[in-house]
Symmetry: C2
Subunit: 186 residues, 2 copies
DNA sequence: AAACGATTTTGACTTATGTCAAAAAAGTCG
DNA sequence: CGACTTTTTTGACATAAGTCAAAATCGTTT
C-alpha cells in the first residue's frame, strides 16, 4: 500500500471503494536536493508523504528566508493556505535531501472531499492534529529562550541536528546562526 | 437563528435535518467576569461563540499565566486538545467580561461528527482556517520584535487594547508588562 | 470622598541576543 | 589532491528586553 493511503488510514476509516478511487490520484516522484515541491506564489499544491528524504518549508521576510517547518519521513506534509483558500502559497517547500514522495494535488483532494464526505473526517482530524502541533510551537516561541527552544527541537525532532544545517535550524528557532553556534558549544 | 449555527453555516452546507438535530445540542449561558468556560485538566470541553463578551485562553508555565488567545464576539472558539484527543485540556478558558455565549459540548459534537459525515466538512474547514491563523502567529513570534508584534496585534485585533489589560496583552505577546508599557509610551 | 487593592509606569541595572567582520572548518568538484 | 565555495565559529561591540523595587495611577467599594 502506498505510504500516503497508509497515512490517511491512521486518521479514520476509508471504505475500499474510496481507497480505490483515491489511489488513482496519488502519484510518486523523486526530486533532487534543492528542488521544489512548491514555490511561493503558486496556487497548485497538495499533500504528500516522504518515503525517503527531507524537506523544509520557508517564506521570505525582509529579504531573508524564514524556515517554518521541516518534514521527515512518514509524516503528512503540505501547505494549508493553498489547500484551504485556493490562494497562492505563502511558503515555498524545498527538498533538503534527494527525496522520494507520494502526493495528491489540492485539486484532486478537494474534489474527493466534495464527493466523499467520509474523507472529510480524515481531513478534519489531520487539520486538528496539526493545530495541536502549531500550538505547541507557539508556546515554545512565546515563553522559551533560544536555548530552551533548541532543546525542545532536540527532544521532538532528534535527528534534525544530524540532517539539517545550523543556519536552517537557527532560522526555524527565530535566532541567528551565531547564537545557535554559541548554544551548541556548551 | 442561534449564533453558533449561523457560524457553522459560514463554513459549509448544513442540511435542515442536521441543523435541526444540531440545534438541540446547543445551549446558551451567561457567565460573569472571572468565571471559566473550561479549566486546565478538564476533559469536558466544547466549541462556542460569544454573543456579547470577551474571553481569554491561557496555560500555566513556571508558575506564570501565559495567554494564548483572546476571543471576541462572533468567532468560533474552543480548545483543540480536548476536542481532538479526549485528553485533559492543556489550557484554561476564562471570561474577561461578563459574557453570553452559545456552545456545544465536545461529546455532542463528536457524536454528530460520527453520525453525519457532512458535519466533518465544516469541522475540517474550521480547523484548516485555524491552522492559517496559528501559522501567522508563529511567523510573528518567530521574526518580529516586541514592538512589531504589538503593532500586529493592533492591526488584527484593534479593540484588544481597549478591552484587555496591559498585563494580559504583554503575556500574549511573550514580553513583560514593563516592556509593553515602554512600547506604548512612544 | 477616603481607603484599599490591582494595575501601570518609571528608573537603575543585568542579561540575552543581534550585528558585523574575520578566521576556521567543512563540503564540493574538477 | 588542491582550489573553491559554503557553512560554522569566534571576537568585539551594540541593542533589545528582562528583573527588581518603588512610585504613580486607576478602579472599586464603603
Amino acid at each position: 500500500m502506498d505510504p500516503l493511503i497508509k497515512k490517511f488510514k491512521e486518521y479514520g476509516n476509508l471504505p475500499p471503494e474510496i481507497e480505490n478511487e483515491l489511489s488513482k490520484h496519488i502519484k510518486s516522484q523523486t526530486k533532487q536536493k534543492g528542488d521544489f515541491f512548491l514555490k511561493q506564489g503558486q496556487i497548485v499544491s497538495g499533500l504528500f508523504v516522504i518515503e525517503i528524504g527531507l524537506v523544509r518549508s520557508y517564506h521570505i521576510k525582509d529579504e531573508r528566508e524564514i524556515n517554518s517547518w521541516f518534514g521527515f519521513e512518514n509524516i503528512i506534509l503540505g501547505s494549508v493556505m493553498p489547500l484551504f483558500y485556493d490562494q497562492p502559497a505563502y511558503e515555498s517547500i524545498q527538498f533538503l535531501e534527494t527525496s522520494t514522495y507520494y502526493y495528491i494535488s489540492s485539486k484532486d483532494l478537494n474534489m474527493l472531499y466534495k464527493k466523499h464526505h467520509e474523507m472529510n473526517t480524515i481531513g478534519r482530524k489531520m487539520a486538528e492534529e496539526y493545530c495541536v502541533i502549531l500550538e505547541q510551537r507557539i508556546s515554545s516561541l512565546q515563553t522559551e529562550n533560544a536555548e530552551q527552544r533548541y532543546n525542545s527541537l532536540l527532544k521532538f525532532q532528534p535527528d534534525a541536528t544530524q540532517r539539517i544545517s545550523l543556519g536552517h535550524i537557527a532560522s526555524y528557532l527565530g535566532i541567528t546562526k551565531e547564537t545557535l553556534s554559541r548554544i551548541r558549544k556548551k
